[in-house]
């Protein structure tokens, strides 16, 4: 045991601590938590296992199946690569501009720029398409400046634009968090030693935020893999279309397509782990940060923020408001019918967020404190859940609940619905939760252990307060995703349980645009206030 030595070393290192200290030997041996982590990983792997079993038992002829999924597979890959690269670039840029510069209103931008995450993608895309129609905001603006509005808005380009605008917050949020805790002193030293601002960024800042960028881009990639509603409306034919179109008439092809998604997810998760490497990021938190002065570049920086917000929020919200206003004018909207769905939506999202963070925490502890093969596999299972479309996860859980002895009561219960959300969205909490675990350095835990022998008191006074920002951020992402989830909600929810997303869907699919508009605006309002109250305000630097 090297406890004493570690503490002594930590003390010797002074206030700055020993953040880059590699894990000690005592920490790499698997403990009881390893098995908890593995069991949780197994839970997350249930839908994937279901897909594999179905592919084997349905025994689709390989050549024909491959013929059917080859084209969509290639298109899915193209879109996912383009969208994640774009989101990585925009998300990083916006994070830097809103955290590390003297951009005017940067705190307001930080809140507003997260909001594109709150719209269900199908309604976001639908509202975006409506903006191009005569009378829509894009159409009118383009015409006012003398340009011919495009007649069609569809295909790879359209899907790329819309999905990038809806997903960059997945990168912006973790990168912002990382940048906010990064000390500026090293960067300043680099500048004093003659580096240009750009050199200082790429040599000093970039290596520190790279894991956050990669983790965010990975989420965007997985999100795009499983995305269905938006790409379908935008006429871009991906693997999810194959899964949906064949789910009834040709199940072998449907599950083969789902399996192809899984293979892609495994490949990209592995690649991300490799790229991120084992480097333990600098955990020392910043004292004071001196913002970079933008000078004349305040104008292009503000325009960039405005452009991202316009595509991701202003255009869809304008269309939704037009729909809502028309319906309210005609008295076609019954607001009373939306009260219960609103309560359901907020309630189930909050519960899911808390449960997800608790479930993911043991895996995060394993991957950060005892990195090895088993924790990596468990983490991969968590991440893979995001690449499987919600419908497939829901079907897998429904079939298992129906047929597994002793679990019949789970079917059409809230517990199963929340389990579905946890499996689908656990990936979104994982990176932030790992960050939270790293926020309690080994030396702090050692010292705490010496000073306070009672584990629960220790956790309450040392671990939880230090981990809180990361846990809250992870839970916040899960909450936002759950608020707008549709396919699993439709299939798994108890009878009569409706959410704002199901209301939006039922209005949108039958052309009740007024109802869609009102319910969507309500969803945005609920998401924004919950995010502000629970996630941003408590963690934001005053």
């Amino acid at each position: 045991m090297s406890d004493l030595g570690t503490v002594r070393a930590a003390t010797a290192a002074g206030a700055d601590g020993d953040a880059r200290r590699p894990a000690t030997r005592s920490e790499t041996a698997p403990g009881p938590l390893s098995f908890v982590g593995l069991a949780i990983g197994a839970l997350f792997a249930v839908p994937a296992a279901y897909i594999v079993v179905q592919v084997i038992s349905l025994d689709a002829p390989f050549a024909e199946t491959w013929e059917e999924i080859r084209g969509p597979l290639w298109r899915t890959l193209q879109l996912a690569a383009l969208v994640s690269a774009t989101a990585a670039f925009i998300g990083t840029l916006l994070a830097w501009v809103t955290v590390r510069t003297d951009l005017p209103f940067r705190r307001a931008w930080r809140v507003a720029l997260v909001l594109p995450l709150v719209l269900p993608s199908f309604v976001g895309a639908g509202a975006f398409i409506a903006g191009i129609a005569p009378g829509g905001i894009i159409f009118e603006v383009l015409q006012a400046v003398g340009l011919t509005p495009p007649r069609r808005f569809r295909g790879l380009g359209a899907s790329w634009l819309v999905l990038s605008a809806f997903t960059y917050p997945y990168v912006m949020l973790p990168v912002s968090a990382r940048l906010a805790s990064l000390r500026t002193s090293v960067e300043e030293s680099a500048r004093m030693l003659g580096c240009s601002a750009r050199q200082a960024f790429f040599r000093v800042v970039f290596p520190e935020i790279r894991p956050a960028i990669l983790a965010g881009a990975l989420l965007v990639f997985l999100y795009t893999l499983s995305e269905f509603g938006a790409v379908q409306l935008l006429g871009y034919d991906t693997l999810t279309r194959v899964i949906f179109a064949t789910r009834q008439a040709d199940r072998a092809v449907s599950f083969a397509a789902a399996a192809a998604l899984l293979v892609m997810a495994i490949a990209v998760v592995t690649a991300e782990r490799r790229l991120r490497g084992r480097a333990v990021p600098d955990q020392r938190t910043a004292g004071t940060q001196r913002p970079t002065e933008l000078g004349w570049r305040k104008v292009p920086a503000t325009l960039t923020c405005a452009a991202a917000l316009t595509v991701g929020l202003v255009i869809p919200v304008t269309s939704l408001s037009l729909w809502a206003a028309r319906g309210i004018r005609d008295g076609a909207v019954a607001f009373g019918d939306l009260v219960q769905p609103t309560i359901n939506t907020a309630g189930v999202a909050l519960v899911t967020a808390v449960v997800t963070v608790i479930v993911v925490l043991p895996i995060a502890i394993e991957t950060t404190r005892r990195p090895g093969r088993l924790p990596t596999i468990a983490a991969g299972a968590v991440l893979g859940g995001f690449a499987i479309p919600g419908l497939v996860i829901a079907l897998a859980l429904a079939v298992i609940a129906l047929n597994a002895t002793g679990f019949g009561w789970l079917y059409q219960s809230l517990a199963l619905l929340i389990l579905g959300y946890v499996v689908h969205f656990g990936s979104q909490a994982l990176a932030s939760t790992e960050q939270a675990v790293r926020a309690v350095p080994g030396r702090v835990r050692e010292q705490a252990r010496l000073l306070e022998p009672r584990p629960f008191r220790r956790a309450a006074h040392v671990d939880v307060p230090l981990m809180r920002p990361g846990l809250v951020a992870g839970g916040g992402l899960v909450m936002l995703a759950t608020l707008k989830e549709l396919p699993a909600t439709l299939l798994l929810a108890p009878i009569g349980f409706s959410t704002l997303a199901t209301e939006i869907w039922s209005g949108f699919s039958e052309g009740f645009y007024a109802e869609t508009g009102v319910a969507s605006l309500l969803l945005i309002a609920v998401s924004a206030s919950l995010t502000w109250l629970l996630v941003l305000r408590p963690t934001m630097r005053r």
């Binding site: 034919d237 179109a245 009834q248 028309r326 309630g347 079907l395 809230l414 108890p494 629970l534």
Partner: protein
């Protein structure tokens, strides 16, 4: 710690609220309905049934095909969760065939024989006719074809909106196979694909696209345009009917069935009979702009009357392979996405 405490309090409160809402409901007379038709279209008439009969209807809304999958999985596990199933089209009923109970003859007899299952396992509730929706700003009505076969013309290259993955398009193709034969249908699909039609997610997306001039015409069900007009009377989309008897004008019925094994067949039957009562049929005519299927019920003022003898109603039982074969044909022609 205040934030954590506030979070915990909120989560606890939320759990209670959500659980309360999910467990609400009493043990009186009730049935469970799986509805592939959305609540905007169907909930008002369900409310009236509850008021008049005293029977509670617990509804699970969802996509027609997904609910059919759930019902078949429930049946495979030996469970009966739903008592009644409402589908947007007969195709899903064909998929569920062996999970559906025999309907009483008196219920079947309420509708025109052309709009119910020959084996008596489902009954049509309301009808939607296949039409060609066009943009009145860009299209001269004189150019519009009388037959769906005349739509195969260079005039419409790149201008036809199609939803190949949509249930009612598939049912229309199934009907065409029935009346015109496999070869003619396959040829028509492949000719249509040669004209570079534009693929959309569903009927509704096509009507919206035609309304904003993205494509000039689209193959859809008639009532979506009436819904679009109800939302925005200024929209430029107009329905064009194919000539009487043309497969392009097939009537697609929404259907109701009782799930096999339910112990609430009587209540379920009462509910279906209510949908087929004068009150129910008038609701579908006036509120959702569909065709009532009970003879003698008038259509809404702006919806033209229809003769059931003139519309090719389809009988999936007569067709080998049903939906699967139709989907193959559509996919082979390249029209699926």
């Amino acid at each position: 710690m205040t934030t954590s405490r506030r979070l915990l309090a909120l989560a606890t409160g939320a759990t209670i609220a959500v659980t309360a809402s999910a467990c609400g409901g009493d043990d009186g007379d009730s049935i469970t309905l799986y509805s592939g038709r959305s609540d905007g279209l169907i909930q008002p008439i369900i409310d009236r049934f509850e008021d008049e009969s005293g029977i509670d209807v617990d509804v699970k809304y969802g996509d027609t095909a997904d609910l059919a999958l759930l019902i078949s999985e429930e049946a495979a596990a030996g469970r009966v969760e739903a008592d009644v199933y409402l589908s947007q089209s007969p195709g899903a009923m064909g998929f569920l065939d062996e999970n559906l109970a025999q309907l009483p003859q008196e219920t079947l007899d309420l509708v025109d024989p052309a709009t119910r299952d020959d084996d008596g396992r489902w009954v049509g509730v309301s009808g939607r006719q296949r039409v060609l929706v066009y943009n009145s700003d860009n299209v001269d009505p004189a150019d519009l074809p009388d037959s769906v076969f005349d739509l195969i013309d260079e005039r419409w290259r790149g201008q036809i909106g199609v939803a190949g993955g949509n249930g009612s398009f598939q049912d229309f193709v199934t009907a065409m196979r029935f009346t015109e034969g496999e070869d003619v249908t396959a040829q028509w699909l492949s000719d249509l694909d040669d004209l570079d039609p534009v693929a959309y997610a569903n009927n509704n997306a096509i009507v919206a696209a035609v309304g904003r001039g993205e494509v000039e015409v689209g193959l859809v069900n008639h009532y979506y345009n009436y819904r679009a007009l109800a939302e925005d009377p200024g929209v430029a989309s107009v329905n064009h009917l194919f000539a009487a008897g043309d497969p392009g004008g097939t009537l697609i019925v929404t259907a109701a069935a009782i799930i096999d094994g339910t112990d609430k067949a009587d209540f379920a039957n009462e509910f279906i009979q209510f949908l087929l009562s004068a009150e129910g049929q008038e609701y579908f005519a006036e509120e959702t702009f569909e065709y009532p299927l009970v003879p003698g019920t008038p259509t809404a003022g702006n919806v033209p009357e229809i003769e059931f003898d003139d519309v090719g109603s389809l009988d999936l039982d007569e067709l080998e392979g049903g939906l699967e074969r139709t989907r193959e044909l559509i996919a082979d022609a390249g029209l699926e996405s």
